[in-house]
């Protein structure tokens, strides 16, 4: 008899996501259901607002990928009102986006994902001198002395000895699926702590241009902060120097810590190069516009749709295509005026709550009916995976030189074929590859900005269409953003200066979507199917795959059998998710 | 209930309601006054009625307020001219050329205009307040004004004075916390808005009637206004 595992909460992006999975007698997952259990109705709240204000509301959809919704929002409004932003503003925005990637991915790798692979207590038997030798061999990173690693080891030991493990308590330590040698564990734990401190210095670009982080400030038509080399309250040489220093630190960390660590850890988990693939369909809206937001031909990350792993036939999706870009609510707690089976393009999208699930407290959802606050977005009625893997595939297929080189380098180092990227490990590697690409792009963008300033190109705001009196009576806009977690799109409709519809299709609605009108599962649901669990009471395998999508969540997994009884008292390995 | 909530109420629904009451009230006043009937003047004119109206407005708005001392009544009661002049000057400048108030109009009308630097507005606001105090003193000590002033006159004075003094305190961060003062300011503004159609403060609308009548009468008879 199939067991039903209930995993709740897994957050949406930052909040609350629930997964229910059916496991067969050989402990292999046969079906999985993904459900968002928290809703705020931001789309409803946005109706009737000033489009210029929308970014602030949308931004609060997520405090982790804190800029992405703002970008999608201002771009959708700029698209609707046909606003072109100045060159320098675009460069500044690209800097902010690139910083978001580096910050987010580093934190994800170390603080959300690493402990799926790294056994903290495993480092207690490590030899600090050997660890130092490994460090020196893989990277010029300065913290490489035996004494340093000895200190780290002692610190961990002190915590373990105190019996008060604090945030490290009760995890999967010692699980047989942990395969790293003690020295690599020690190396990773040391970098876990270093990354926690280093990430605080990775937000300076946001803080300088947006005033704070999380939730920096934006403005439709450009960026809020002016450039004036002779002002103490504008972008000047002092501010630029802080930015340059921050970029250098980020690049150094990626080059000397993140990438070497990935290459040091990955060889021990090559089995995950064949697990967790999921859909094989990928979507990107593209990112890093050159100067014109809408000229996709100059994007660094192309706008693309990949169907069935076919990298030879990549199409460019049109977000304005009413037939192909649709959201479905057949299994979502919403109702539509056109019936719940029909798909709606976001410009026509409706957000009307219709909760039909069990009254809380409940044990199980009615997965044959509606079971999630997430809608099910589909491209041409096909479910899509979005995220780093989609982006790296798009850049790789388009022949982006650095991406191709890095991908080949990683594959060579692991001795794996290209097909290995369609996997849990592939996602994790793709994240590291694009981090390196975007970190270098950040430096290039910084240099471009300096050149622009030298050339007198210092405008940061286009106010021609600022006043609502200059707007058309009716306008529709699409705003994109390749969020660290994947393709994000905002569709807005403006009538008489006010938003009359606003729909956000976010990466986690793609990846974490429930089934659609045809019963097709979303990416999470599909990727889990076929995953064997060594021990259902200690489902580390589920966490590794789910976290490879970077759902940005910490999950306490409640496992319940089909009768609703507790299967176990399991502490999952996912811990210390500072993010 | 906290002051932020009170402020939101005063700036939000209360202001909204006050504004609508003001609009409805003023329209009501206009309709009832006009509805009392206007008989046609069949008397042939000696001079130009239209010219008289134009002159009356030009003088009433652009000349007399700025050179009141040419009027022989100025000497007899300078306080009323000085107080009234300062008050109206301060009021107009603060209401129309003060940044904060321009932004109110901008949000209501959809367009804005340039404003004066804060220190200038500030001094004129102070002058306006002084003007109001002079007017009050004059009203109390002048025998005619004492005779013709009832509670309505003193209430009107108070309802105009409160927004001015709270506004002044607000910009100078005097007294209690900013949002408290801001709330009081907005409440007093709302009370004023509601009070205007109920009181003689509405004279700013009927001013245009009386000036026009005045100009027309004098123009008709060929007399300089």
């Amino acid at each position: 008899m199939a067991q039903r595992l209930v995993i709740d909460p897994i957050t949406r992006i930052e909040g609350h996501l629930r997964i229910e999975a059916e496991v067969d007698s050989r402990n292999t997952i046969t079906k999985a259901y993904s459900s968002g259990t928290m809703v705020r109705g931001i789309e409803i709240i946005l109706k009737g607002r000033d489009p210029r204000d929308a970014w602030a509301f949308a931004q609060r959809a997520c405090g982790v990928c804190t800029t992405v919704h703002s970008f999608a929002s201002i771009r959708s409004v700029e698209d609707a009102l046909n606003i072109k932003i100045p060159k320098a503003a675009n460069l500044i925005r690209n800097l902010m986006i690139a910083q978001q990637y580096v910050h987010d991915h580093v934190m994800h790798f170390y603080h959300l994902h690493a402990l799926d692979w790294v056994d903290v207590t495993g480092c207690l038997s490590a030899d600090p001198a050997a660890t130092a030798d490994i460090q020196k061999a893989i990277s010029p990173w300065p913290n490489a002395s035996p004494g340093y690693f000895s200190d780290v080891k002692n610190k961990v030991k002190a915590i373990v000895d105190s019996g008060q493990l604090s945030i490290f308590a009760n995890a999967y330590w010692g699980h047989p699926a942990y395969k790293l040698p003690p020295e690599i564990n020690l190396l990773a734990v040391a970098h876990y702590l270093e990354a926690l401190d280093a990430q605080r210095t990775f937000t300076k670009i946001h803080t300088i241009f947006g005033g704070k982080n999380p939730h920096p400030n934006f403005v439709v038509g450009g960026v809020p902060m002016p450039i004036d080399m002779n002002s103490d309250t504008a972008i000047n040489a002092e501010r630029l120097s802080i930015i340059k220093d921050s970029i250098d630190r980020m690049i150094q960390f990626v080059d000397q810590v993140y990438l070497p660590d990935l290459l040091a850890i990955a060889p021990y988990y090559l089995d995950y190069a064949g697990l967790g693939e999921g859909l094989g369909n990928f979507l990107t809206w593209g990112e890093f516009p050159d100067t014109d937001n809408s000229d996709t031909s100059k994007f660094l990350v192309p706008r693309s749709v990949i169907i069935g792993r076919d990298l030879a036939n990549i199409q460019e999706p049109d977000p304005r295509d009413f037939e192909k870009m649709q959201e479905f609510v057949a299994h979502s707690w919403y109702e539509q005026s056109v019936g719940d089976e029909a798909g709606l393009h976001p410009w026509e999208g409706e957000t009307k709550f219709n909760y039909t699930g069990p009254r809380p407290p409940y044990e199980q959802l009615e997965v044959e009916q509606k079971y999630s606050w997430l809608k099910a977005p589909r491209w041409a009625e096909t479910p899509m995976e979005v995220g780093p893997l989609a982006r790296v595939l798009a850049m790789y297929a388009k022949g982006h030189e650095q991406t191709v080189e890095l991908t080949n380098m990683v594959l060579d180092a692991l001795g794996a074929p290209l097909s290995a990227v369609f996997s849990t490990l592939g996602r994790t590697a793709a994240r590291a590859i694009e981090t390196k690409v975007f970190a270098d792009f950040m430096l290039k963008t910084y240099n471009d900005l300096i050149d622009a300033i030298k050339a007198g190109d210092t405008d940061t705001f286009n106010g021609e269409k600022w006043e609502p009196t200059t707007w058309p009576a009716h306008a529709e806009g699409f705003g994109y953003m390749e969020a660290p977690r994947g393709a994000l799109g905002h569709w807005c409709v403006i009538d008489n200066g006010k938003l009359t519809n606003y729909q956000m299709v976010v990466p986690t609605t793609w990846n974490g979507s429930p089934r659609d009108h045809k019963g097709q599962p979303g990416a999470y649901e599909a990727s889990l199917v076929g995953t064997p669990l060594a021990n259902p009471e200690l489902p580390l395998e589920i966490l590794r795959t789910i976290h490879s999508f970077d759902p940005c969540m910490a999950c306490a997994i409640h496992m319940v059998d089909a009768d609703g009884n507790d299967l176990s008292e399991v502490a999952t390995g996912l811990t210390v998710c500072i993010d | 209930m906290n002051w932020t909530a009170i402020l939101e109420f005063a700036r939000g629904p209360f202001f909204y309601a006050a504004l609508l009451i003001f609009v409805a009230g003023m329209i009501y006043r206009l309709v009832t006054v006009i509805g009392l009937g206007w008989s046609k003047d069949r008397v042939p004119a000696k001079g130009s009625k239209a010219g008289g109206v134009v002159m009356s407005f030009l003088k009433g708005i652009l000349v007399w307020p700025f050179i009141p001392w040419v009027k022989n009544t100025f000497k007899r009661n300078p306080l009323i001219y000085i107080g009234g002049g300062l008050f109206h000057l301060g009021l107009f400048v603060v209401v129309f050329l003060g940044t904060a108030h321009m932004l109110v109009f901008k949000s209501l009308l959809g367009f804005g205009w340039g404003t004066l630097p804060l220190p200038i507005v500030d001094w004129l606001a102070a002058a306006g307040i002084v003007g109001m105090l002079i007017l009050l003193i004059n009203r109390i000590i002048h025998p005619v004004l004492r005779l013709i002033s009832g509670p309505a006159e003193y209430l009107a004075w108070l309802f105009v004075f409160l927004p001015m003094i709270t506004g002044y305190a607000l910009t100078h961060h005097l007294g209690p916390r900013y949002e408290v003062m801001y709330s009081l300011h907005m409440i007093s503004v709302n009370v004023l808005l509601i009070w205007i159609p109920l009181s003689r403060i509405s004279h700013f609308i009927f001013y245009f009637f009386s000036r026009a009548i005045h100009g027309q009468e004098f123009g008709k008879r060929g007399v300089r206004v």
Binding site: - | R29, L36, I80, V144, L147, I148, S210, I213, V223
Partner: protein
């Protein structure tokens, strides 16, 4: 009907949008008081024009505004009583010449004169008019003239004037161009004026006449504030004019009569528009300006300073401001000097509006005249010229009262004296 009710009826009738909008415009600033010669002379705050129209305002607010109705119902607003009417009757008939100076200083431009007239309408309807004034009104109704100028008296006086000054005064000439209507003040007290005007018109070759029917231009109904009586007296003049088929009516040196006939008659009696109505001052200006009569330049120079008194009804309310000055510049280029203030800003003589007809008002009337004395003394004039016989009556009476050594003279008389034949 009680007096109060009759007054209220009249107030209600008077209060059109025209009156209401002006009552609404009042800020009660009290500035009008400073323009009022009676307030200036006495310091009595009740003489403030705004206070004189208080009952009209109260009636309007209580009748026509919700707030006023509520206040009255709650007892906050006082209802108008007979005592009030008596009190305001005193204020309006004793201490107001309806000179409209107050409207010149009102910052809102309120035409107080018309409001004050509205007050009189109410008081008249209530019968709250000073007895002296009522006697005159009744006399005018019955005898055709308030000064006892009956048909026969009129006949004799004109006869006498024609003889005395050897002028031809055409009477009841059918088809004449111009009907000249004298006031009984001139006929009875300033007959030289009649002779002077006759002389001038004859010299100009004007086809003019007087009418036995339209023999009295004075209109005590207008002083009283009674529309009915005003119309009655106006219609007598108009009928006379109609009978003779004249084209225009010339009002001689009488201020309020001119106001009533020129600026109000057409609104009550449409036939008034069949005639051109003009004041003798306008005619004089026309004749001198066009050269139809010629004057001896400087005829009045060398006899001390001459000044001109602007009458409220003829200059400020009648617009004949420039003509007297043009004439005086010919007659006395050296000795003519202006008082301050003058023209439309001039200070009232204090005797108009029927005040001079009310014995009880004498003290305030003389008090008000003291302002005029100051004005004239300031300019050092010994001769005061004017174009209104009512002003002239007030001047001659007060010159007597104050024992002044001034010469008071009508403009027409001066013109006649300086005629070059």
């Amino acid at each position: 009907m009680t007096a109060t009710k009759q007054a209220l009826n009249a107030f209600v009738h008077e209060t059109g949008g025209w009156v209401a909008s002006q009552l609404e415009a009042c800020t009660r600033c009290g500035m009008c008081a400073e323009a009022c010669h009676f307030y200036q002379a006495t310091g009595n705050p009740e003489y403030a024009p705004v206070w004189k129209v208080e009952l009209l305002r109260r009636a309007y607010e209580q009748r026509f505004t919700i707030f006023g109705a509520i206040k009255t119902a709650l007892g906050i607003d006082k209802r108008i009583t007979d005592e009030d009417l008596q009190h305001w009757s005193d204020l309006n008939y004793y201490a107001c010449t309806v000179c409209n100076k107050c409207s010149m200083v009102c910052p809102m431009g309120i035409d107080l004169g018309s409001l004050l007239h509205g007050m009189r309408a109410g008081l008249a309807a209530a019968g709250m008019v000073p007895a002296d004034l009522m006697t005159a009104v009744n006399k005018q109704i019955e005898e055709g003239s308030p000064l006892g100028m009956t048909d026969s008296v009129w006949d004799q006086r004109l006869e006498w004037v024609a003889d005395e000054w050897e002028v031809e005064i055409p009477r009841d000439v059918q088809g004449a161009d111009t009907l000249v209507v004298f006031s009984s003040i001139e006929v009875m007290k300033f007959p030289t004026n009649i002779a002077a005007i006759a002389k001038i018109l004859n010299a100009a070759g004007e086809k003019w006449t007087v009418s036995s029917k339209a023999r009295e231009v004075v209109n005590f109904g207008f002083y009283q504030g009674s529309e009915e009586n005003t119309k009655l007296f106006l219609s007598r003049v108009l009928e006379g004019a109609k009978e003779l088929g004249v084209k225009r009516i010339v009002v001689t040196e009488c201020g309020h009569a001119y106001d009533a006939l020129r600026w109000h008659a057409a609104n009550w009696l449409p036939e008034a528009n069949d005639f051109e109505i003009i004041h003798i001052t306008g005619v004089l200006g026309e004749l001198v300006g066009s050269g139809r009569i010629r004057l001896k330049p400087g005829a009045f120079d060398g006899d001390g300073t001459i000044t001109f008194h602007d009458a409220c009804k003829i200059q400020r309310k009648g617009g004949h401001i420039q003509e007297p000055r043009d004439i005086l510049k010919v007659l006395a280029p050296e000795s003519f000097k202006e008082m301050t203030p003058n023209r439309e800003q001039s200070v009232c003589c204090g005797g108009g509006g029927g005040v001079i007809a009310v014995k009880a008002a004498d003290p305030v009337r003389y008090a008000a005249f003291e302002l005029k004395i100051d004005q004239v003394n300031k300019v050092g004039a010994k001769t005061v010229v004017m174009t209104c016989s009512n002003c002239r009556l007030q001047f001659t009476d007060s010159v007597d009262h104050f024992k002044l050594d001034w010469k008071v003279i009508g403009l027409a008389q001066m013109v006649a004296d300086a005629l070059v034949e």
